[in-house]
């Protein structure tokens, strides 16, 4: 699946911001609107490693420590000392020949010597030196035909794979490594084999895998490996020069042909999974959905994390958002699903509920992702190429931020809190409710929540604000007294920039970059207009200087050219000038208002 799309981790930024965030700099928001988020999960060699394979670990041929001086031991020593020079090669060959002439050698010793002989030839060969490597290959193949010792045989297969790799034969090398990975009794460690497979195939096997795909259809495991690796998703930015070579459009029809032609080799479940993967990579979600629907309801594949992810993706990309919910929920709840797969499902569900308007469930899964990130610091585990990590981790937290700070109705959030009082990180929702209530001038309610959740700074501040607001709206006082109270209220707001209406638990200081509804072009026109309007409203509601300006404007209008009016106007100008219009917007309007009030003040002063 897709990659952490716009994750931009900059080491420098990470150092600076490390104290602010578990993640590095990440400016992602609503990534479920990007089709690449819904690509199949990336597969690595680890994905094909079966659990609990019993291995052995005995010294390789020629590597046992010296015990006595014998021709075999001298051959071992010469092999161990061989570092590539012609003289050492000559010495090793001579030592091997001398040991071979030793009639006292037992069967196992002779077997070891034979493998050492092949290894000397292998180490004499450089990459691409087909003649020398060919000699080594012949010796290894001959050895394997007669090998009795399972440890030596396993080792020899490993070297044969390496020789194949050095000779440029990816398929021959990779298939041996893959078999050895899951072979009981292998003398090659799991790490060694995973590293080797990684070196041979990289991320997607490259052009050689695509060219040799048919060679893998000799066993079901080989075929599944080849198709899954060849269809690993990519996060490509468009490059005119590279465009044509970047992906081979012919790849997917060819895979389909191969799958069709080898129905007898693969069981129907594996075939369905591979076909769904291919369909999604080919940009044909309808085909993927159709394959998914044909899998019987009691088939074991129905509980496979890959199946559920791809079924959900197919439905979402086909714009059947409601239908994506069931498989994604199944994936999220599956005991077979890894942490990353659950994270993918949770974020996918956020996308489903964004489209279906189910705010409550969006809160649930966005909050779950927040908790996961907080506990496991997923962003810090990001390193290397974007393709290395194909699960989106929602590091920015902006989806949850937008949801709690602007999108979710207060009543829905309150109901969520009531229904889930023990949920981890529920305090975040409670705090957000309090902030939102403050923006609606419901300061008493907000203060109560702050006190309940032990927000020890905001609680008394909001309580004070409640009193000021109440004073400013009393009807049983004179106009002058009310205007004075309003000025005190505005002054209090102005003295508490970002400390009343701004939610300081959500944005990690980067909220301004989340306001990009109009810049992405991945929504419908109506959605875009709605997002833009909500963002504008959000900015207005959370800017203390702006809110103070609105209060003071009314005072100036009502009071007119007198001392109170001038006092309010002076404070209003001050508030307007303190607004950061780069972040807030309305720069023309603010400039014009500033000029207007300034002129008014000049006239009023005379």
């Amino acid at each position: 699946m897709i990659g952490k799309r716009f994750l931009r981790v900059a080491a420098g930024a990470l150092l600076v911001l490390g104290c602010l965030s578990a993640c590095g700099w990440d400016d992602t928001l609503r990534e479920y609107l990007d089709a690449r988020f819904w690509q199949p999960f990336a597969k690595w060699a680890e994905s094909f490693s079966r659990p609990n394979v019993k291995r052995i670990s005995v010294p390789y041929a020629g590597m046992t420590a010296a015990q006595n001086d014998s021709p075999l031991q001298r051959a071992r020593t010469a092999y161990q000392q061989f570092s590539g020079t012609d003289e050492q090669l000559k010495a090793a060959r001579e030592a091997v020949a001398a040991a071979g002439a030793d009639s006292s050698l037992g069967v196992k010793d002779r077997e070891e010597l034979s493998l050492v002989d092949a290894k000397v030839e292998m180490r004499a060969g450089e990459p691409g030196d087909r003649e020398q490597l060919g000699r080594a290959k012949s010796k290894l193949q001959a050895f394997l035909r007669g090998a009795r010792d399972p440890a030596f045989a396993s080792e020899a297969r490993g070297w044969l794979a390496r020789v194949n790799y050095l000779m440029g034969d990816q398929a021959a090398a990779g298939k041996i490594y893959l078999d050895e990975l899951n072979r009981t009794g292998s003398n090659l460690s799991r790490d060694t084999l995973l590293n080797s497979l990684h070196i041979v195939y990289g991320y997607d096997g490259g052009p050689q895998l695509r060219a040799q795909l048919d060679q893998y259809f000799d066993t079901p495991d080989h075929a599944a490996f080849a198709i899954e690796v060849a269809t690993n998703p990519h996060w490509d930015r468009y490059d005119r020069q590279m465009g044509a070579a970047r992906e081979t459009p012919a790849l997917y029809p060819r895979i389909r042909e191969l799958l069709d032609g080898h129905r007898a080799l693969l069981n129907s479940g594996i075939l369905a999974l591979l076909a769904m993967r291919t369909a999604l990579r080919a940009g044909d979600p309808a085909w993927a959905g159709s394959i998914a629907s044909e899998v019987p309801s009691d088939a074991p594949e129905r509980s496979d994390p890959d199946f559920n992810w791809m079924a959900g993706a197919a439905a979402y990309l086909s714009h059947d958002y409601a239908a994506a919910e069931v498989p994604l929920l199944a994936l999220f709840r599956s005991p077979k699903a890894s942490r990353n797969q659950k994270a993918a499902a949770a974020y996918g569900l956020c996308g489903v509920y964004w489209k279906t308007g189910n705010v409550t469930e969006r809160i649930r899964y966005a909050l779950w992702l927040h908790t996961l990130d907080r506990k496991e610091q997923l962003g810090l585990s990001y390193a290397g190429q974007i393709d290395d990590y194909t699960v989106y981790w929602n590091c920015s937290g902006w989806d949850l931020g937008m949801l709690l700070d602007a999108e979710a109705p207060i009543e829905t959030m309150q109901e969520f809190v009531e229904a889930n009082p023990k949920l981890e990180d529920i305090r975040l929702v409670q705090y957000a409710v309090a902030v939102r209530l403050s923006r609606e001038d419901r300061y008493d309610e907000a203060a109560s929540i702050y006190r309940e959740i032990h927000a020890v700074v905001r609680a008394p501040r909001t309580r004070r604000l409640a009193a000021l607001h109440s004073e400013a709206n009393r009807q049983d006082v004179t106009d002058t007294e009310r205007w004075e109270a309003k000025i005190r209220l505005a002054q209090f707001l102005s003295d508490n920039e970002d400390r009343i209406y701004y939610n300081d638990t959500l944005w990690r200081g980067f909220q301004r970059y989340a306001f990009q509804a109009s810049g992405r072009g991945d929504t419908t026109h109506e959605e875009r207009d709605s997002l833009a309007a909500r963002e504008r409203q959000h900015k207005d509601e959370q800017e203390e200087y702006w809110r103070a300006h609105l209060i003071l404007r009314d005072v100036v209008r009502e009071a007119g050219r007198n001392a109170i009016g001038r006092k309010a106007a002076a404070l209003e100008v001050e508030c307007l000038r303190r607004i950061n219009t780069d972040r807030f917007g309305r720069s023309d309007e603010i400039r014009a208002t500033d000029l207007e009030i300034s002129r008014w003040l000049c006239v009023a002063a005379h």
């Binding site: 440029g168 468009y238 020069q241 875009r528």
Partner: protein
């Protein structure tokens, strides 16, 4: 490659290994450029060989045929003898089948230099007909005149294969001769405050001088009236003239080497198609502008990023274009520099300022509710 100082690497790779998506070619050369004056330490030879070994393996994996390495070292003429020794040392460390090519400065070919020693050690040389006065020397122009009748006999006397280096790139600097790496023609040409004057160099490069008529800002920098920028650009005529001159060199001349391949979205370097067309090679749809509608990967709507590849990259007048869409547009996100606008339910208009059509020009992101086809209706 660079001079090694304590703790510093010998070189920095432009790419981590061989790029995965090279354009198809019969053969490839691994280029090692020395970014400093002088020549590298002789001890660099085994290091280069190590790097070559890694790249060789990577190339084998990608089934690429590597012909050899090319050294791009602007060696001072007085040190050519040392350069010859360096090449000799390098060869001992390289795979036997790898050839060594070198770029060569024209100054090396004057009388009394050791250029012969250098060329003797190499398998081919590539005299470069650009940046004769240094990369950012006193002159604005980039290309040097290729005189086949004069240079042919000089190069041929070495009896070694050579290819002639021809420039296809451009540069821009301001009045303080600060060279910009990221300033496009469109950044300046779309600003109505600038007036442009065009001229041609001796080699037919286009020289565009932009002058501000009132105070303006480009990026974060203010420009006063009368100040501005100078762009120097390779043209089809500069390339075709050079290629034609090379054709007359004969002998050991194996062809030309165009410098250089443009980076993505670069606007000052000719696109490969334009270069080939200028050189009279290739079967391109000559004279036809192309619209590229690239999938924007939107999951719930259909979005395309629209790019223009103009057939008139250096047109001296403003060009007006129109894109016709097969479905109703939901909306577009326009490129302001091209004055892009949705001029009808299924129609997008844009304007390319004079001389600003080189490279891949982003027009807009177009959003429809259903997949749609996009066609360039006209550009004139």
């Amino acid at each position: 490659m660079g001079p090694r100082e304590r703790g510093q690497p010998y070189w920095v790779s432009a790419y981590p290994g061989i790029p995965a998506n090279l354009p198809p070619a019969r053969e490839y050369w691994l280029v090692f450029r020395y970014e400093q004056q002088g020549i590298p330490d002789p001890e660099i030879a085994p290091r280069v060989a190590d790097a070559v070994a890694d790249l060789r393996l990577s190339a084998q994996r990608q089934q690429l045929k590597i012909a050899g390495i090319q050294l791009d070292i602007d060696c001072p003429t007085a040190r050519l003898h040392d350069y010859a020794r360096l090449i000799h040392s390098l060869r001992e460390h390289l795979p036997r089948e790898y050839q060594i090519s070198i770029t060569a400065l024209l100054d090396w070919f004057r009388e009394g230099t050791a250029v012969g020693e250098v060329i003797r050690e190499a398998d081919e040389f590539a005299p470069q007909f650009y940046d004769g006065g240094g990369r950012y020397g006193g002159e604005s122009v980039i290309a040097s005149k290729v005189d086949g009748a004069r240079w042919g006999p000089i190069f041929n006397r070495f009896g070694k294969r050579f290819r002639v280096g021809i420039s296809t790139f451009g540069r821009v600097h301001n009045d303080a001769r600060y060279y910009f790496g990221d300033l496009s023609l469109l950044d300046v040409g779309s600003n109505p405050v600038f007036q442009v004057q065009a001229a041609r160099s001796e080699t037919n490069e286009l020289v565009l001088r932009y002058r501000a008529v009132r105070k303006t800002k480009v990026g974060y920098v203010d420009y006063e009236p009368g100040t501005g920028f100078e762009f120097v650009l390779a043209t089809p005529e500069s390339v075709s003239g050079a290629v034609e001159a090379v054709r007359h060199m004969g002998g050991q001349c194996a062809g030309v080497l165009f410098f250089r391949w443009p980076a993505a979205f670069e606007s000052l370097t000719m696109l490969p198609e334009e270069v080939l067309q200028s050189a009279g090679i290739g079967s391109l749809a000559a004279g036809k502008s192309q619209l590229l509608a690239v999938d924007g990967h939107c999951a719930t709507v259909s979005c395309r990023d629209l790019y223009l590849e103009s057939a008139h990259p250096l047109a001296p007048t403003v060009l007006h274009g129109r894109v016709r869409v097969s479905a109703e547009l939901d909306y577009v996100l326009p490129e302001p520099k091209l004055q892009t606008r949705m001029s009808g339910p299924s129609q997008i208009d844009f304007t390319v300022p004079a001389y600003c059509g080189r490279g891949l020009l982003f027009i807009a992101r177009a959003v429809t509710l259903k997949p749609a086809e996009y066609a360039l209706e006209d550009l004139r």
